[in-house]
Symmetry: D2
Subunit: 345 residues, 4 copies
């Protein structure tokens, strides 16, 4: 059994980790921390877990955490980096779902997050947890930086095109849509049902914190710097990311059979699913599942390829992908505990 601790278990990423881990055959959840809810039973806060977990939230304690095999950080940014050095020193492997270790360039990180990074020396050691890109490095990672929800969908959608050099890397436009759970379990008027329901809007149009992470990942894949216009939107739904990705095909791209490029690229991937020609995914098909589904076409043969990608922001975009990485890190079958189909309808 892998002994697991979770720091910050009261958010949506936290409860999703719990939902998946309580059903994982080789995991034992040892502790879940929360300063605000310390002492409260987990299933009192999340009645969906009644009968599935017998723990209460506790204050974070690096000693107890350091006795775990793996610790998940399901916290806002600027939390994990304060504990990670101690945990690594204790031999615990860290799976950070926050942004603290996603960006290698510390200045860039500090610019976007407005904080001083407290352990920049660990940035180069962190492995970016996108298995479709870094599977082998993930197996041996001591410090794993899980990708953001938007970055996962955008990178998986562009990856086959950039890897094969079929598009102009300066022409990228990612129009992405998220359900409201992406904003976290925080009391904000903007995310009330009475505000966000039956409505649609763009937000952070002038710049979103996921942009540098996406550009770093896409540049790695392309082998050259990419330029991306990224506009996130909020849709009146609970879960789901839908990314509509645009790029100008170059000569090679216009000549290629793009459907085959995608199918070949992802043929061995357990959690990326290229839909047949003419089909486009909807977020509900992957609700609760660890799958990213992709569809693609070149409308009117005008030279602009359109890829649509969907995922559950809390699963493949967060907790599910983190467990996928954990499985790799601990020599488990990669899909263990995260292979259930989506909840449809």
């Amino acid at each position: 059994m892998i002994k697991v601790g979770i720091v910050g278990g009261t958010g949506y990423t936290g409860v999703e980790l719990l939902r998946l881990l309580v059903a994982h055959p080789n995991v034992e959840i040892v502790l879940i921390t929360s300063r605000a809810e310390s002492g409260r039973r987990v299933d009192d806060l999340f009645p969906s877990l009644r009968g599935h977990i017998d723990l209460s939230f506790s204050d974070p304690d690096n000693k107890v955490l350091g006795a775990c095999d793996a610790v998940f950080f399901a916290t806002p940014h600027n939390v994990a980096m304060r504990s990670v050095p101690a945990l690594l020193a204790a031999g615990t492997r860290v799976i950070d779902l926050s942004a603290d270790f996603r960006i290698r360039d510390v200045k860039l990180w500090e610019h976007w997050y407005g904080e001083t990074h407290v352990c920049p020396e660990l940035l180069s050691q962190a492995v970016y947890g996108l298995p479709e890109r870094n599977r082998e490095d993930i197996r041996t990672a001591q410090l794993l930086a899980c990708p953001g929800c938007y970055p996962t969908a955008v990178q998986l959608g562009y990856m086959p095109l950039l890897a094969a050099g079929l598009i102009d890397p300066q022409s990228l436009i990612a129009n992405a849509v998220s359900g409201v759970s992406g904003a976290g379990r925080q009391a904000k008027i903007d995310n009330l049902l009475a505000e966000a329901s039956d409505s649609f809007k763009a937000y952070a149009v002038s710049g979103h914190r996921h942009l540098p992470e996406i550009e770093q990942g896409l540049s790695d894949i392309a082998g050259s710097e990419v330029s991306l216009t990224f506009v996130p939107h909020l849709a009146p739904m609970i879960r789901g990311i839908h990314a509509t990705l645009y790029a100008s095909l170059n000569e090679a791209g216009r000549a290629a059979n793009l459907q085959s490029v995608f199918e070949d690229f992802y043929q061995d991937e357990p959690f990326v699913d290229v839909l047949p020609v003419g089909q486009y995914p909807q977020t509900r098909s992957v609700r609760g599942a660890n799958t990213c589904q992709l569809g693609l076409t070149v409308p009117e043969n005008k030279g602009t390829v359109v890829v649509t990608a969907v995922e559950d922001n809390l699963v493949k975009g967060a907790a599910g992908q983190a467990i996928q990485c954990m499985n790799l890190m601990f020599g488990q079958e990669e899909s263990l505990g995260i292979s259930q189909p989506g909840l449809l309808p």
Copy 2:
């Protein structure tokens, strides 16, 4: 492995059976029938099942069905009864999720369903598939009639009170609310998102087909005839049943510790969960789960007890409960394949 066939796999109950059965360790799905979609891949209709099932819909064929260990009918009423005699004769055990065998009084059935029953002689043989009431009979059932979604919630909510004789059985009022998936996967204007969203209404106020089934079940429990006013409503959500149950407490009821009555009654039940005093369930806590959660109180001590009960209409109200019964019928652990927690948020 239990060899399973599904008749009528294109509705919401059908796809929910598939979602749960593909993950059941001891089940092999042999065939899924649909006249309308015959020849179409199941995962083409339901992309959430891509990678989980490799079958196409086929025309119903009693020979092939008769070679199964168990056949689920996820059909409208008036379908199962036409095949059941042949399947029983072939030694196949039938789990009928439709209404054909729920009501023992054939005249009552024919009154409410407006059809002539074609095998009324089997009605007395059918076992009503509410494990909390009929567990032992279910184990040996050849023909299992699964309860409707409303009847499950209403019976589980009233059962401890009626069994202990704590309420006036003539005073029952069940105010129930369903998500739209309860209306099935049928093209009806009333159930369009643009019609049903952001709205709430009662329907079938003057009489709903689940009423006689509920009254039969409650009368069995009470040991005397009950009288129920049952008003169903439609809420703008996908899944979920919420029943608010009212009854007049008799002298014994006023004296009893009702919370203890409920906790004791359900203490060994794996899928009925009595919430602590002062808590009331919400449907999302059991989304995708086979659990019925209950809460209760006596407002202002006025002598009227209020029980609130929630379930997922497609799980504990249909497919999950059917699999729970299948597990009992085939000597499996009762909760096998249906023990996952709800999807929250």
Copy 3:
């Protein structure tokens, strides 16, 4: 022109007052107060009002308010009562949408609201603003207490039956459902879209503050004390109240033509609409409208009458009814500015 001030304009009742009053031909909005948003343009907070209003929120100032013909309080309880004496002394007529003056029995008010009332001597002077009950008193009211949203629907639904003595006043059960805007524009986790969407629950089952107001109103109508079990629920929608009202018919009630009773009772009412036999209202039919629609039946002739009532909680349940009262108070046509049909779909 009626010069109008609004205290507490940043909530949903406030913005709804603004939506209706900017289109009212005989109203001039003089000021809108908000301590929290003082100095901010109204249309910056509510972009739906851009081009319709050129005011900014200001701090409340009894001098400026006292120069208005009418002041609306769209505040939580415990605010209006602190300013009302001064405003009445200045000759300003007060229309209070909060709970401060709804309950005549000050002890009852203090019990439910947990505060000491600062001007109990005004309670007897306050007119309860339900035009269908108190139209003539409203015309001359100096201090108007607008009914709550639930109380409006419940009273309009029971009124014809109680007034005619057709039901047992001790047998009342009101099962009511509200959209989330009823909880106000406040940052609460429970009302986030990710929490409240796609779910349904009861709340305040053991006792809701609207109960004493409803019982007071129903007792007035009945001419004797009534006993009500009132259970409110939250539905995943923005606006709307749906009340399902149950009562035991007495002998006279069983003999009566209830449909005619309702149609006759409300035949001259501009904002109460009795649907034809066999029809039941849905909340979306009155979205944005000042109408209460009613449907009724006696299921299976069992002696329990079921009335269903819908209204928009922000219109007939709050701002619209307040303006209806204002029209009466200032000699305007009763429906002026509030006669638009609902927004459907």
Copy 4:
């Protein structure tokens, strides 16, 4: 009074015309046709209109229609063109909300709509009803072709940029999102609440019928041919269009103050509202209103301008804009009957 007839009054555009026209001070609705619902009271189909209209649907009859001053067609394509010649001959002015007269190139129309046009000679006579572009021509139009919902938002968003020559007309990408009412009041499984709710998807990615209409309009504005990639999406909401428009700025565009360009361009328009710098519109702000709200920025100064545009697809995208045109055609104040603010929340 303008005597008005409506052909095809049973869809969402039809009921929205009715909602607005019953409150228009200078309009008399003479008849509403529907073959399917002939003889049924309008307010029986649409209970929101009870008390507002006293008509029943009738079979379409060109004689009666020809006696109207104006006839609105709220029909699918391929209906209006069969009656328009007769109505024009009778001196009736036609306001067609369908696609029959929107595209001047009959071959293009026939390619996209798969029908033979029955009166191509009228195409050049039809005036395209976008007041912000064609106000003067609309005043004298006998045959008015109302823009589609997507084309209205996309053209209003790009218009200031194209008119001033600030963007590369070959670089346009319009990522648009619609609420489900855009799919019409038709019984389709895909648009059931249980299918479309809590989900998001692209559709018609390879080509949507609004594309040629948009390209025709944008080319007119630009004075040269434009190339557009247009991807529509479905969001789980009732009403609303949100368009996110991308274009490469040319040298002039990079030098311009784009906010001023937009504000100047639309300063006299009653129904186009440019939000302040840094604000982006949400669809709910214009729910039920005839307003198009716009926001714009150049993310990270990368040379790609992003304009976001919202409208209510049934108002500024259909019925409201049609009435705006009617007002112009009949010498009314342009905003008469369509100036109410949006319904928020």
